[in-house]
Symmetry: C2
Subunit: 147 residues, 2 copies
DNA sequence: TCTTGACTTAGAGTTCGCTCAAAGCCCTAG
DNA sequence: CTAGGGCTTTGAGCGAACTCTAAGTCAAGA
């Protein structure tokens, strides 16, 4: 298939596909008689996987590392597994953060909902949350600000 | 407290705090006798909340909308609730995507793990989540909506 | 046949969210 | 008193990930 078709199939633009090829995320595409890129189903699959990695927040430089390992063949299996495994850990951690933040949002939205005239949840008091995962410095002992 | 203290308390740099003030995410700070920014606990709380929004992927321009509503006072409660509610929907959607991607990662890592010498999961076949039986979301591949 | 639209390239431009530099002022510990 | 570190400002710079432009080639449908 041509680059435009692949773009439609994968949801990324042809520009981005060429960009990915340029930086090494995609192998150099085969060309048809007239010098145009010609793709197979495997490209759809590979880009689909890259998109998943992207969704989960993997930076391009890490996708590149993975892609290079993949290009090196079967012997890199363990290295690829390790790379994905580390990434999975990060994704899990982020997931937990998101879930925690979600409950904060729930609380806050609920706070806005009740008693419309007054505000038991003023901008600040309602901003206060049970601090969960994200502990920037770790140095925060005194938690003031009403919980 | 001074800007450096606030930075330590919140985990963002003093540079970023000034940047946030510049773009309107933080109100203009009160100054002490010598013209330096002086913060109270409320700043810690507010930045904490902003950090959570950031964690959940809210772009700065949306935080700005929220901050401006907040600055306008209590009457904007419903608008703020709506803003957060829409954001919550997006976060929930993203959360679902992440969870789905996680199971893909699990499958793939497991694939690399089994039968160390050979590889039933060669670069492509294992990259494929095509007809991977475990289809968590039920999302048929082929067209994932673009992010 | 003609025209339209998809394709090609190299390289420049954009957006986001910081991050730093430079030059100078001033608080505080020693 | 002095040195050092933290603060001030404006404005420039940066890395990530695209995104688009320009100028040109070419294939295929009306």
């Amino acid at each position: 298939m041509k680059i435009g078709d692949l773009a439609k199939r994968t949801g990324i633009t042809a520009h981005t596909i060429r960009y990915y090829e340029r930086i090494g995320l995609l192998p150099h595409a085969h060309r048809d008689g007239s010098g145009r890129r010609d793709y197979g189903e495997d490209s759809v699959v590979w880009i689909g996987f890259l998109s998943r990695l992207k969704t989960t927040g993997m930076p391009i430089r890490d996708m590149l590392r993975y892609a290079r390992l993949r290009a090196q063949g079967d012997s890199t299996g363990p290295a690829r597994a390790a790379l994905l495994s580390e990434h999975r850990d990060r994704v899990r951690a982020h997931l937990a953060e998101l879930q925690s933040a979600l409950t904060v949002l729930d609380t806050k939205i609920a706070g806005y909902g009740e008693t419309e005239g007054t505000d038991p949840n003023d901008a600040d008091s309602n901003d206060t949350d049970t601090h969960t995962t994200t502990d920037p410095t770790g140095t925060r002992h005194g938690r003031h600000g009403r919980d």
